[in-house]
Amino acid sequence: MSQLTFQEAVIQGISEEMERDERIFHLGQDIGPIYNGAMHSAKGLGAKFGPRRIIQTPISESAMVGAGIGAALAGRRPIVQLMFAEFLGLGLTPLACDAAAMWYKSDGKVSVPLVIRVLYGAGPHRGHSEDYQAWVASVPGIKVAMPSTPRDAKGLMKAALRDNNPVVFFEHMALYHGARQEVPEDDYVVPLGAAEIKSEGSDVTIVATALMAQQSLKAAEQLRGEGISAEVVDPRSIVPMDVETVRRSVAKTRRLVVVSESWKTGDPLSDLTASIAEELAGEAPLKIARVGLQNTPRPFAMPLVRAAMPNVQTITEAVRRITESN
């Protein structure tokens, strides 16, 4: 075990998989040993694996994603780092229209083992915080990972690199160089599509990923002092979504709060909410609240960002709203 940051854990996962599997290579802008990737997102990889496996590209997101798809079709297992999720749109056409569809449309003859890495999230960078997760999550055929801890980040990265399908891997900038966590050095994976109950509780279920999972844990701690027992479920990947773990939790608590750093409009967690309502609403009273980013473009100044985003206060308020009335 060693104490790793989120960023160190992601890189350790990539490094271990690259040692294990010669077919993996990494495309990206400024990922070589001179710059080591935006926010050190490729730190040490260029020095370790050299320019034939850590391949720098010009600013060409569409061609980078397309090249990743093509190399995957020809037997490689590429990683494409798009730097920021804000740039996802530039590569979305080959990813969403073509790569996502290849397995189904080819009747199971063509698969695309490709990992797309993106940084996102309100945090120290003061820009590039948009996640646009709905764009990729809404297209069948793309898997989407959104880890909240160093341990999960490493395990999910290893799972993504062993998956035979396109995976978009979201790396939150506020968590990136944040708290360290014990991360196992042995070979382990965190499967895509397996939620984890980060904190057990019995009165209300809070579902959140990444930074919002961390905020929800803080909220749960605060609520415990008020006598409210909140269960925090982190789906860890939003596609595939582990609806079953959430369903079991909500069947117990009958109260669901989903917390997203994205806009509520079109938020993938709204789909989860609809699925839970579909399955459980008929049985007994079910209370639901959604907490999300203000439905405007993201503001810039920090006080505005703080006010627009979900936080511990808005999460606890939402929980109280659906627990107090009983």
Binding site: T57, S60, A63, M64, L73, A74, W103
Partner: protein, 322 residues
């Protein structure tokens, strides 16, 4: 280089077959035929190794896939959405091709995606060090997309083994090349990427084949990509129901004289490789073969609902620890 009789004969078989294929499929609703452009298709994809990859323009895609070994009946079944097609009816077979023949088609109707995806196949080929090459073609309309710029620039930066062929038929739907491109030739654009740009009379299948083979040799030797502007003319409409009445009569008449099939036939007879009667016999055989394939494909069954596969979204394979 003077082509030998065997090469000319092989090319003629394919161009003749292509003409029948494009003409007959052009009668099916919604098809985008490439009558008049067969010289570019045959010249581009003839003479490659099985291990090489191609990513043909959608106009002429079936001919290209057939040249790689795909079965005509199954390809045509793909156009009709029949269960006997390579995808059992899950994808539109007029533009999407079976990858098992190292032939990449379009998995969506979005132009430009095959350009950057085929560039990635070339990237994999460069890492493999097996000297594999990729030959890809696209319309001149697609050369105005960002994907064209990004792909060619990336391929040049990484010296990838790929040949980019612009199947320049003068029209993007109804938009004329001289309206949408302000360079003299698409080959001029190559200069901006630091790669060779070559303009070829695409209707001269021999010249076309030789130009592509030179570029392929260059790519195989690790010398990087080439852009070829293959100038041709779309005799058929953009798609089956397009009356094609926006092509000026005199322009069309002059291009009809340069029909690739006519040019090749003239060459074969002038060089004494074949007589008119022998040429006609080959055309007749091609017509019979393709008419039969279409009839079989039309008689093939539609897919049953078991093909729908609502849960067949992901490749189930997970790589375990080696």
């Amino acid at each position: 280089m003077t082509p030998d009789a065997n090469l000319l004969t092989s090319l003629y078989h394919l161009v003749a077959k292509g003409r029948v294929l494009e003409s007959l499929l052009g009668k099916l609703p919604g098809f985008h035929p490439g009558v008049g452009e067969e010289g570019v298709v045959v010249g581009a994809f003839f003479g490659l190794k099985d291990s090489d990859y191609i990513a043909p323009h959608y106009r002429g895609a079936l001919l290209a896939a057939h040249m790689r070994g795909a079965d005509l009946r199954r390809l045509i079944a793909g156009v009709l959405g029949k269960v006997t097609s390579y995808s059992r009816g899950r994808v539109r077979g007029d533009i999407c091709l079976p990858l098992q023949f190292n032939t990449l088609g379009m998995f969506s109707g979005v132009l430009g995606n095959p350009l950057n995806i085929s560039t990635g196949i070339a990237l994999a080929a460069s890492l493999d060090e097996k000297q594999g090459v990729v030959v890809t073609s696209f319309g001149e309309g697609t050369s105005n997309l960002g994907a064209f710029h990004e792909s060619l620039n990336l391929a040049a930066c990484l010296a990838l083994p790929i040949v980019y062929i612009c199947q320049n038929n003068g029209y993007a739907m109804s938009t004329r090349t001289d309206y949408a491109l302000k360079c003299t030739s698409i080959a001029d654009r190559a200069q901006g990427y630091g790669m060779p740009g070559i303009r070829v009379e695409g209707n001269d299948v021999v010249a076309m084949h030789q130009a592509v083979q030179s570029a392929v040799a260059r790519a195989r030797a690790g010398e990087g990509p080439t852009l070829i502007d293959a100038v041709t003319y779309r005799i058929s409409g953009h798609y089956s129901a397009d009356p094609n009445d926006y092509q000026p009569k005199d322009e069309r008449a002059s291009w009809l004289k340069k029909d690739p099939l006519l040019l090749l036939k003239a060459r074969l007879t002038a060089q004494g490789v074949m007589t008119d009667a022998q040429l006609a016999e080959i055309e007749k055989a091609a017509e019979a073969e393709i008419t039969e394939a279409i009839a079989q494909a039309q008689a093939d069954p539609d897919p049953g609902l078991e093909v729908l596969g609502p849960d067949d979204l992901y490749s189930p394979v997970l790589e375990r620890v080696a």
